[in-house]
Symmetry: C2
Subunit: 405 residues, 2 copies
């Protein structure tokens, strides 16, 4: 009964944390398989039955779990009570900051969108943007609290790479930010709004969208999963071994700057021949004869203009080569396509990409991996922010390691 | 004292396993930082002091740890005794099977090569090859046992991708094997040789070489680390988050089949323009006017023939583009180059690759990541096999998940 045990990755002797890890282990088991009993949980976790009973009671009292009715089977003896995730008492908050728009959502812990709001970005400087962001978050949080529910955390998606060591947004070219300590700024704003007790997380937008797919998708989650964010920038979010992969410095997954055409077009990054210079929205708008202005693509596609459709087709073919390279590099369980280019181009963009990928698969005699569209379409990043707030709770070590500031 | 705790990834209620995880946690802490005391280990692991004392005693008795002398500092009170890894009692066995050669080594748990042996492969069929392999392993193992030491495990590197679900070698084109249940074969041979009690592991050669770099290199290990194996085949082994990454089906890291030249040369895989068709040894031998025969490159390079050197230079430039793509995809802490092409081509191959990588870094205004040569040169895979036997002990969950058969 007094079995000495510990977490596999020792970081701290804090007993509250260790207890927390056990609670999380139980929640994760029930997330993978609904209806497990206390005895099942004990068997699968290696925790004693008395510990499981204690923790399950706590989790029921707090609103994380509920007991289901026992099905009478006619067998002798007391039937074990099936348990399942509840969480109706909890809400997650997600947000996305783009160069021109702020989106905020609240979701349940199962990923249902409860409320959503969107507004044009008033000021592009970090102070103004973070102020507006927290202002919009506050409105939703107040409504959650007034409704008697609790906010578990906030996740914010940013249009650039976040250094995993320092928590600083390194470079967000499309909004013109460089080395911005976003965390400090957000926490200061949350304090002014009297929300300093809510944990806040932030990450590159594609990373969050990937987490949105794995945390809120069907169980077991597809793994490895590569989310490709097709917009003005071309990036990816990668989930490997149930962990968000961000590389040594936070710049992992920058697939838009892999070379597709040796000595090809000049890319905004300074290199030549990068995928983004062929698949990014500015390139598509240039090919469409729209002077490189992505905002003009919407009207052109609404009118089904041939040159715009041809531009999406050419970009899609290049995307197909990139998909082939991602396939052979990651051997993913699924690849997910999202972002504005997918929304604007639709089948004119996606179909040629899938055709090229399939033709590589045929040539090699191996079926290409599953490619599907983002579950939450234009809300993928904001919902991904909410998912990341849950991920941080469910993966305390990974979140600690990824955002130690 | 009776704190209920458990491992983060619950798989089993087996208390021996849970105890084992705690032992491993202590060994890993001491591997990262030599000289920790029992009190330090308790603080960092979250285990109680009495549990730590118990486990440390066991680990000392078994030969895993030793106590260092206490340094007298003049301070009052009993000085804590510094601990460190010992392991002189243990030996690891590694092996490599190539299309023409078998290599076997024994190493210490710190990665020193104790003995090495090499022989031409007598028969290329799976039965004959596995028989010869285990024959060679037996000779070394007998010597270890006669010397009073214990073999912890055997790791075998194979020239193809191993399905992580079934443990079957899927396809090894250069030796002509397809769907070979290598595990069964090796275990049958080990049983005949009266070695069935020794755990045996096997994996793709590049994966093992990568593990050799991280398990036996300086601490903390570089992470992410990408090992590029340049031979007739062009593959990679990837370590992410202290875990060997093999993809959804074991085919992860097949970077030799990412496209470098759209509509380029036909590749052995059936696609066009793959990196292997430009950087693999057969391509280099063809460019060198040697009829695509890699075995002729050795003499040509020994004579410093211009055409052979030019072929390595061209291949190196293509490798440089691949390095740039790996950089932006993985944001690795280091990239390691190994394999026969590196041995044969030397600076004629590696320097142009580094130049191309550096020029991409300059264009983007970002320093390129560290690229270095494999620590164990031509023994990289065999030593990697030994390292993998240690990795399997130190990462019981990952090894379980990767080789559940």
């Amino acid at each position: 009964m007094n079995s000495p045990t510990a977490a596999t990755l020792p970081i701290t002797g804090d007993q509250r944390l260790v207890k927390n890890i056990n609670r999380i282990a139980l929640l994760r088991l029930l997330r993978e398989e609904e209806g497990l009993s206390r005895a099942d949980l004990s068997d699968r976790s290696g925790l004693t039955r008395s510990t499981v009973s204690l923790l399950v009671k706590e989790l029921i009292d707090e609103g994380w779990l509920r007991e289901n009715e026992v099905i009478v089977t006619g067998q002798l003896g007391r039937r074990p009570t099936p348990l399942q995730l509840d969480g109706r008492r909890f809400v997650l908050v997600g947000a996305e900051l783009t160069p021109d728009t702020i989106r905020v959502v609240t979701t349940s812990i199962q990923g249902e969108v409860l409320e959503a709001n969107e507004a044009a970005l008033r000021q592009v400087d970090p102070e103004g943007a973070c102020h507006q962001l927290v202002e919009m978050i506050s409105v939703l949080v107040r409504r959650v609290v007034d409704g008697g529910r609790e906010v578990l955390g906030i996740g914010v998606g940013l249009p650039g790479a976040v250094d995993s060591q320092t928590g600083v947004l390194q470079f967000a070219p499309n909004i013109g930010w460089r080395n911005v300590p976003v965390g400090e700024r957000l926490r200061a704003e949350l304090e002014s709004a009297d929300l300093s007790s809510v944990p806040v997380h932030y990450q590159n937008e594609a990373d969050l969208a990937a987490i949105g797919e794995t945390e809120f998708g069907p169980r077991p989650a597809d793994d490895p999963l590569v989310y490709i964010s097709c917009g003005v920038g071309l990036g990816s979010g990668i989930v490997l071994g149930d962990t968000m992969f961000t590389g040594a410095t936070g710049a992992g997954g920058e697939i838009g700057h892999t070379i597709l055409h040796l000595q090809g077009r000049a890319c905004s990054c300074g290199r030549r021949g990068c995928a983004e210079a062929y698949v990014g929205l500015r390139a598509i708008a240039a090919d469409a004869g729209l002077d490189g202005k992505p905002e003009a693509l919407k009207a052109a596609m609404a009118e089904r203009k041939d040159q715009a459709r041809a531009a999406f087709d050419a970009a899609g073919r290049n995307l197909g080569v990139l998909l082939q390279n991602i396939w052979t590099t990651f051997d993913p369980k699924s690849i997910v396509l999202g972002g504005e280019a997918v929304a604007l181009g639709g089948a004119d963009f996606v179909d040629p990409a899938l055709q090229v990928l399939a033709s590589y698969g045929e040539a090699a005699g191996v079926p290409a991996p599953t490619v599907r569209l983002a579950r939450y379409t234009e809300q993928a990043v904001a919902v991904g922010g909410a998912a990341y707030a849950l991920y941080a709770l469910m993966h305390p070590y990974q979140a600690l390691l990824q955002q130690q500031r």
